[in-house]
């Protein structure tokens, strides 16, 4: 008996078709992976199929049958809100992408976990508390008794996602919907959440729909996989077959785009080994004022490194390891102690504007790092105007830069919201290049892009390094892409430099336990289902 049966699902908003005829079925204990780029309709499909779609003007047609032993069969499409409320949280549990916003900051964990128990199961406060304790233990929260009365801000991102899973599983639902549940998490945390969901699924026999843009993750969780492109199913097969012999070209592209270990960076453009950026004993503390006085967070502790001209230094670590703080210190956004020289010139403290120009930075979020009111061409021309570079031929220079990042010059008059994420990030790169910098700092520059677009932007960065003999400081949390880019690697953990070696040596023989852990957390190339056979 299938838990969920979706047939010929269509969703349209206004005149735009978002989902065009999606059908699938899901058995108990099975995991269905749904992959596709952003905008392919993954989330829309699942939200519509579970009756949770709440976009104004959205029209849903088709059928979606939920079979639950307690509640019986129910059609979820075209259902009244009241009937849907009976199902949501009881027969279907949800886990969403961002654990920092899906928990209510003003309620204790106990209140949030017991909410659905009290609503659906008429449990008493006391019984619900016992159940909440069981759930927190099951999802692996340390010392759960103390954590019941904690608030979300007291937990780390990974722990918050565990709590979300506990909430979703509170009523023992037949179906768990996980919409990009690990995208906002570090690799190591991602690996933990994946194995947690797998264990819970085995114990409870829950069926899971797991949405992700990353086939690597889907390979670790799914039994079968559905590939969506522009709202259509292009391939739907068992995961092992899909990975071993992808039939559709789109699936092949997605597979090729997975970040995988074993790559290597292009040869350095400059073999001289001359040092371009020299950082010595960099130390950053942030003051934090509390009601009882001032304290500080030691974000970067005595870090030293060098970047050779024409090479890439990869800076890796989990969130909170201080890698972005290093970038911000070098660009003057935060105050730091220690010394830094760019080509022999002092970089920290008050420096002439012209020296700032020689070190450009590309930020993570392509949406917010472009001014929404300035066109793409205007954004690229901005540094030219600020530094009075190439006076009188800004227009030609902007066209050159657009060409350099492989964007059509016609896009120059578009506003940021009229471009896709990857295009926006290309604009950001063009803007950084406009400064004609010696060093480019790429702070998680591809982290918020889809895997396939990330691969294209990484390729662009590699090409640009060859063409323009650029030097990169490449900040990332994903060791697989760091390996593709970097000649040297510096691993950071909680503000301390853990391991700093040439990339080839580090990947061949990671010395520190922490580095080994990071490497182990990368989803393996083969799907889990293939290894279990």
């Amino acid at each position: 008996m299938n838990v969920l049966e979706v047939a010929d699902l269509h969703v349209s908003i206004g005149r735009t078709d978002i989902v065009r005829g999606v059908s699938f079925a899901l058995e108990p204990e099975q995991t269905l992976g749904i992959v596709g780029e952003s905008g392919s309709g993954k989330s829309m499909t699942v939200l519509a199929a579970t009756g949770l779609l709440d976009a104004p003007g959205a029209r849903v047609s088709g059928s979606s049958f939920l079979h639950d032993e307690r509640l019986g069969d129910s059609q979820l499409i075209g259902q009244t809100p009241k009937a849907l409320r009976r199902v949501h949280g009881d027969a279907i549990g949800f886990v969403f992408q961002d654990p920092s916003t899906s928990l209510n900051p003003l309620l204790t964990l106990e209140r949030q976990i017991t909410e659905s128990l009290e609503a659906h199961r008429n449990m008493t406060r006391r019984a619900a508390r016992v159940r909440a304790l069981d759930l927190l233990t099951a999802v692996g929260i340390p010392s759960p008794e103390n954590r019941l009365d904690a608030y979300p801000h007291q937990l780390s991102g990974g722990q918050r996602q565990r709590v979300m899973i506990a909430i979703a599983l509170a009523c023992d639902p037949a179906l768990l919907i996980a919409d990009e549940p690990t995208t906002a998490l570090d690799v190591t945390t991602q690996a933990q959440i994946i194995s947690l969901v797998r264990d819970l699924q085995e114990q409870r026999g829950t069926a899971v729909v797991w949405i992700s843009h990353d086939l690597g993750v889907i390979g670790q969780v799914a039994d079968s996989c559905l590939v969506l492109q522009e709202g259509r199913v292009v391939e739907h097969r068992p995961i092992v077959d899909l990975v071993d012999a992808p039939a559709h070209p789109y699936t092949q592209v997605l597979l090729a785009a997975r970040p995988r270990l074993g790559g290597s960076p292009p040869p350095p453009v400059d073999d001289s080994g001359a040092v371009l950026l020299d950082v010595a004993n960099l130390d950053v503390r942030f003051p934090v004022s509390t009601p009882t006085g001032r304290t500080h967070v030691h974000a970067v502790q005595d870090v030293s490194f060098q970047v050779r001209r024409g090479t890439t230094l990869g800076l890796v670590g989990e969130s909170g390891s201080g890698k972005s703080t290093i970038a911000n210190a070098l660009t003057g956004l935060v105050r730091a102690n220690g010394d830094a020289w760019l080509d022999g010139q002092v970089l920290l403290g008050k420096v002439p504007r012209d020296r700032r120009r020689r070190l450009a930075m590309v930020f993570q979020d392509p949406f917010s790092s472009l001014d929404p009111r300035i066109s793409a061409g205007g954004a690229v021309a901005e540094p030219l105007r600020v530094h009075r570079l190439r006076p009188g031929r800004h227009r030609e220079r902007v066209a050159e830069l657009f060409d350099l990042v492989r964007l059509p010059g016609a896009f120059a008059s578009r506003f940021p919201h009229e471009l896709s994420g990857g295009q926006r990030q290309r604009v950001s790169i063009a803007r950084a290049l406009a400064l004609e910098p010696d060093l480019l700092i790429l702070d998680e520059a591809t982290a918020s892009l889809d895997a396939s677009i990330q691969a294209q932007v990484l390729q662009l960065l590699r090409d640009l390094q060859q063409e323009l003999a650029l030097t990169y400081l490449f900040i990332a949390h994903d060791l697989a892409i760091v390996q593709d880019m970097s000649h040297d690697v510096l691993v950071m953990r909680e503000g301390v430099a853990v391991e700093y070696r040439p990339a080839a040596d580090l990947f061949a023989d990671p010395r520190e336990q922490y580095t080994q852990r990071l490497l182990a957390a990368i989803p393996p190339e083969r799907p889990r289902a293939a290894l279990e056979r």
Binding site: S38, G39, D354, E382, F402, D403, R406
Partner: protein, 326 residues
């Protein structure tokens, strides 16, 4: 997600897909040297065309143009003199001879409304412009720079807020000579802290945006960051505040005039007429309704024009409007 905001491609541009091309599958495909000269930026629709395509904006602009025309040429357009007293014909209801009726001294209300337009508009526009030009820079700078400068300037603003609007205006008028210039100055000063507050609050949220940080890392001078990145991104709330203040400025002028400290009689103003009509609300509704209507229509026109401007200045709205325009 970006699908729903798809702009339509320029006709004849060879259909460069809006989201298409580069990041679609199949790789970037180098534009090549030939692609360079062949790809001039897509042409956008001019702002005035978009404004003209919005019927509400056009109507508002027409109304304001009419009001301005009347204000300028009232002495020649008005059927009666502004102070033509006719005690025998006092408190007449609207008729062909007096379309808006007459007041307690028998003066023609239509003529007075027309002649008051100039004064009222002048007071509203000048005082709000003054408040905007002082308040917004103070607010933006104090929000962006922060620290002690912010603390000091915001405490000053708090002190100004602590006084009731009218009391503060009264004090200013009392120090200076009553008259139209003083009235405008007083109202301008009273509204300055409001603009400072709105500008500061919006700046605080814009200042932490990554695009401002990008500008900082590029070594952009702060004055340029404020002008180019901060100010354009806070125009929405500022436009709303401006249209609200225009309405309140007309009313504040009325209150001051009523207390004998604003526009000196016999020079008419809409607010002054409203206040003078208070005693006759039950006997002669037309005395208050017509000046009130004049204020209402003018303020509404300012508001609607502001909305239209805000939409054209907002890139997202603009995309949708351009798509419809083509």
């Amino acid at each position: 997600m970006s699908n729903e905001q798809r702009p339509t491609a320029e006709p004849g541009s060879g259909g460069v897909g809006p989201i298409g091309g580069v990041d679609r599958l199949g790789g970037p495909g180098r534009a090549g040297p030939a692609g360079l000269d062949g790809s001039a930026p897509e042409r956008r629709v001019a702002s005035w065309r978009l404004l003209a395509a919005n019927p509400v904006t056009v109507a508002a602009a027409v109304v304001l143009a009419v009001v301005a025309f009347v204000a300028l040429f009232a002495p020649w357009l008005a059927p009666y003199g502004v102070n033509e007293v006719d005690v025998a014909g006092a408190l007449q209801s609207p008729s062909w001879a007096h379309p808006f009726g007459t007041d307690d001294l028998g003066r023609d209300i239509l003529s007075r409304v027309m002649l008051a337009a100039g004064t009222s508009l002048q007071v509203a526009v000048v005082s709000v412009t003054f408040a905007f030009c002082i308040g917004v820079p103070v607010g933006i700078i104090s929000g962006y720079v922060g620290g002690w400068l912010d603390t000091v300037s915001m405490r000053v603003v708090d002190v100004m807020f602590a006084f009731p609007v009218l009391l503060l205006a009264l004090a200013i008028v009392a120090i200076l000579q009553p008259g139209i210039a003083t009235t405008m100055l007083a109202i301008g000063i009273v509204y300055t802290p409001i603009f400072a507050r709105v500008a500061r609050a919006s700046t605080l949220s814009v200042r932490t945006e990554p695009y401002v940080q990008v500008a900082q890392t590029m070594g952009t001078p702060w004055s340029r960051i404020l002008r180019r990145h901060v100010l354009p991104n806070i125009t929405g709330p500022l436009i709303v505040q401006t249209s609200l203040s225009l309405a309140f400025a007309i009313l504040s002028e009325a209150a001051l005039s009523f207390l004998g400290l604003g526009i000196q009689p016999p020079q008419p103003s809409w607010g002054g007429m409203l206040f003078a009509a208070q005693g006759f609300v039950t006997q002669a509704w037309w005395m208050s309704v017509f000046p009130g209507l004049a204020i209402f229509v003018t303020v509404l026109a300012f508001n609607l024009l502001g909305d239209g401007l805000r939409d054209v200045l907002d890139p997202k709205q603009r995309t949708r409007m351009e798509a419809r325009h083509r």
